[in-house]
Each structure stands twice: as structure tokens, then as C-alpha cells.
Amino acid sequence: MPGFVTLCPDMPDQAFDTLDYWRRRTHQLREGLLRRIDDLSASDYPEASASYIIEFLLAFFEELGARIDKASSEQELRFISQLIQTSGIFLQWLDNAHTAQTPRALALLLKELMDRMQPQSVVLVVPQAEYNYGINDLGPKLKWYVEEFIPHSRQSRFEKFVNAPLKLVAFPRIERDNLRAHAIFGHELGHPVADDFLDWEALQPEGKNAQAEANAKVAQLVETSLKSRPDLADRALEISVRTLDRVLEIRNRALQELVSDAVGIHIFGPSALFAMHELLWHGDWDLPPQQPQWYPPSRMRLRLMLQVLDEKKSLELLTSCEGSISKKYMADVAAFIQHSRAIAGETTDQSALKSEPDVLIAYEWVAASLPAALKFAAEKSGPVLYDISVAQKHLPELLERIELGIPPNEVGDPLAPETVDVRSPLLASWVYKTKGVDARTGQPLSLKDIDKLNLQTLLAVEYVLLRGKYEQHTAATEVQK
């Protein structure tokens, strides 16, 4: 027809295929996510872990294409497309894990400690808007992603990813420059230990007996409830399952947190107590476990941390630190510890736990498991224990360096200095901050002084880590020669 351009004269006259339409829509979403992940691969990350995750995600969403092609119903496509949408969380994590948002020292510090517990670990450190710390064992999650969503015949491509000790650690962005607060990371490294304990305990005869005992209590509780509500008799299974599930969750969450607190103390010593006390201070000391996180009462946690520190005599060693420079700080440190002890000494949290019968069952079970759990935590922390007796010897010089305005990273002869443990700058920083007075002016520390202290602490950690890397490199070169 003159005046018209026919772009595709042979365009087939196909009937609209609904399944095909939604299949293409799901592919479109997948492609969108793939492109955004690819964009992120150009960012500078403090550690190789981000590239590793990006590589996994690119492979995963490429292979997911085969699963989309195989889907035989809209509902299958709906589940897959929702997975793609949900996976946007990875963009958020990666978007914040680069060096503009996450200090390199923070990621390297964690990797250093984690490697001692699990060699060749992969750690992604991300700041988050929420004021909380968190750890996610990403390795099993990625394995689960592959098993659930990738056709079996394509899964071998992911072998190298699914067996990696990969952890995602989140911290509150507001505390980015405050390395002292990140002594909480010791607690985060305790979470995998706590999970190992729960798996181990479930197979022990004592664990099985405790489980059976808790079950009997739950059955009794449900029976009593149903007696007063005969109209619910036909929902007995549902009520039993929900109650037992809740008891299990409350109990496991309590042990996860308490074991992690103990590991945090083993890894960071008194710094973990100072950091946790500051974190918990914001809330109610006696709040009983609440959905969805089911944290144990803060007072109980503080008590447990003091118990672990006392068993190790860490606080005694810290406050008896020799030298005139230490003495001027230790009275305030001792006062702070006394303040913690006074809070932990109250037992109001125990009464709060008795208010709900399922919480009570869960916590009676926690009390039965705790001695074995703490022993387990101490054993597993062995490779990464913080030696307070060595730190005690270094502390006076580290405090002196802070007073002089230089990073507290080494001690001894300036011509042949000894690099301290990477955690000791944090302890020195806590001690200095607890005193809260500028050594040169005698005035209370201003916000500017705290900023300077934060920078000194961060630089000290970076120097210690760099020195360690340099020594490793030198040693390796010597061996080659």
C-alpha cells in the first residue's frame, strides 16, 4: 500500500499465550537483576568476598533461566519471580559493602579473626540503617538457593560456592567510625559456634532427655489450655505444634545469643563487655523475649558476660594493671565494671521470664543446657582467645600513645617496636574513653576528642593488620629463597 512501510510483512498471527507472557516477564526481571549485579562489580571492596558473591549471583541468575524455561504453570513462575524480587537484598548489601561505606580495617579485622576459627573464610561486611549487628552464614544459604531453584543437572557449576565458609556481617552505619563498638563482632563470630552447639547437643543423650522433658511440659501445658477451651479440641494438633515450635525457637534463640556473648568475651575480652553494655543500655534490662527475635533479657546477658570474664579473671587482671599511667585510668574502669555488676546483680529479669508459661519452659531448658554450652564456647574459641595477661603488659604504653595523640598499635623500643594484638588498640581506646578526660587539658573529652580517638583506634588496627601482612609476606619470601 503506497505511503505505509510494512516493518514485518511476515509477522505471524499467533494466539496470545498467557504462560509464555509471564515466562518472558520473569526472564525480564531476572535480566534486570543480573544487570544491576553486574554494575556493582566495578566497585572497590575491602575484601575479595564481594567479588565472590557477585560471581555466584551472576551464575545463579543465569542458570535460573533454565528453571524459568522449564516452568509449566503461572504459579511456578510466580514463586520464581518473587525470589528474584526478594534477592534485591543482595543489591542493598553489595551497594553498602564498598570502601566508601565500610572502612577497610573493619573488614580485614573480621577476616583476620574469622580465619583463625575457620581458615580461608570469606567475609562480606556491610553497614545497615537499622541499629543492630548481625551475622548471616551465607554459605548454607547459597547452597539452599542452588538446591531449591536450580535444576539438578546444572548444580555442579556451583560446587565451589556452596562449600565456602562465607559470612555476611552487618553493623549499624551510625557507628561506622567507632571501632570500639565493633568489639560486638566477637559476639557475631559466636553465632556459628552457637549453631554448632545446638546441632551437637541434639545428638547427645542429655540433649535428647532434655528435649523429651520439654515436650512433656508442652503437652501438659496444651492439655491444661484445652480443658478450659473445649471448643478448640479439634485444633489440638495445630495448638501443640505452634506451642512446641515457639518453645524451641525461644530456647534456641536464647542459647544462640548467650553462647555468642560468651564467645564475644573470649575473643575481645573486657572490650566486649564495654561494647555490649553500651548497646544494651538503650533498652529495658528486663524485657522478656519478644517476637520475632526472642532476645534473652539484657540483664541476663550482662550477668553471663561478667561470669565468663570472672572465670577467666580478666577484669581482675585489667584493673590491676601496673604503672602510674594505668592507675590514673583504672579507678574509672573499676567504677564502670561495678556499675555493670550492680545491674547484673538484680534478679528482676528472672521474674519477668515466669510471666509466660511457654517462655518459662524454654528458659528452664536453657538453664539445663547452659553449662555444657559455655564449655563448648570456650573450647571452640581456643584458636582466637584474647590473652588479657599480655594485653595487661602492653596497656600502659598504649595509653601513653593515645595521650600523645598517636595510634596505639605498638610498644617497646621505637627502633624495634613490638606490634600488639589487633584487639589491644580497642581495649586501650575503651579504657581511655571510660576515663573520659583529655590527658593534656584535664577537660572532659569533647566530641572532637572522641573523633580523634576513633581515628587513632582505626589507624592502629590498620597498622597492626598491615604489619601482619608484611611479616607474612616477608616470611613467605624468605622460605622461597
Partner: protein
Amino acid sequence: MSAPGHEFQESEYLGLGLLAVTSAALIDRLLLGQPIDDDDKYTLLRAKRFLADVSSGAKLVHSGVSSHATAVDNVRKLRYSVEPLQLMQEQIKSEEVESVFERVATSLEESVQKGAEANLRDDLVMAKDFFSQLQRFLMALVESRKTRTGDAGLRYAMPRYA
């Protein structure tokens, strides 16, 4: 400090939902005598494992006995299954869940190996019905947590002067 894996809760619902919807479709193919490939067999064996885990969860609830370390997982799978169980055409009494699911799991495994023989068909129909209900339940669970369009989460954060 936060519960490990909290961010992955929704992915768990989606993974199980996909397993359920795919398994229901594949069981239908078994009942119709249509061929399935190795990837399909892998999916059905995972579905069989899910049924066996629900059975273990029911055993734990009723007798307090746990056969392995995954008690929490099994009880959670049973929790997901309670509502679908109530909506199934063939009602299963609560005290029978353990034995019925164990039997249906075994029948499913046998059908994957040798096809839907006559003595297995009733159990396959039951498994198909269960997975159909389960996928609906899980999709509803995911939907209940979603905000499709909204106020960018500012409803509670911003002061309202008007």
C-alpha cells in the same frame, strides 16, 4: 545480634512453595503415566524428604522423640503443614499424621522408581492434594508480608501535621 538468617525467611517460603507447586504438577504426570526426567525425579525425592520430615515433626510433637538433630526444622515444616492438612479433601486425624505422611513419603519414592502402580495411587493423590494446598498457603504467607504500593515506609517515620 539479630537472628541469623532472618532475611532469608521469605526465600524459604518461596523455595518450599516452588517445591510444592512443582511436585503437585509432577505427581499429576506420574498419575497420568507421563514420563519425567532426572531433574524431575530429583525434585520429587526432595518432596518425599519434606513429607518424611513432617512425619518426624509429628512424631516429636506426639511422643517427644526426635530421631536427629533437625528437630526445629521438622517442627517448622509441620507448622507450615497444619493449615494445608485441614484443607485437604481427605481429612487426616492429628494422631495419624506421623504414620500417614511416612507411608505417603514411601509411596512417592516408590512411584519415582517404578511409576504410579495401582497400590500407590491413593497415596499419590493425597500427596498431590497436600502439595497443592501447601503452595497456596505459602504464597498467602509471602503475600501477607508484602506491601505492593505504599508510602515508602514513611507512614510511621514522618510527623503528620495536617
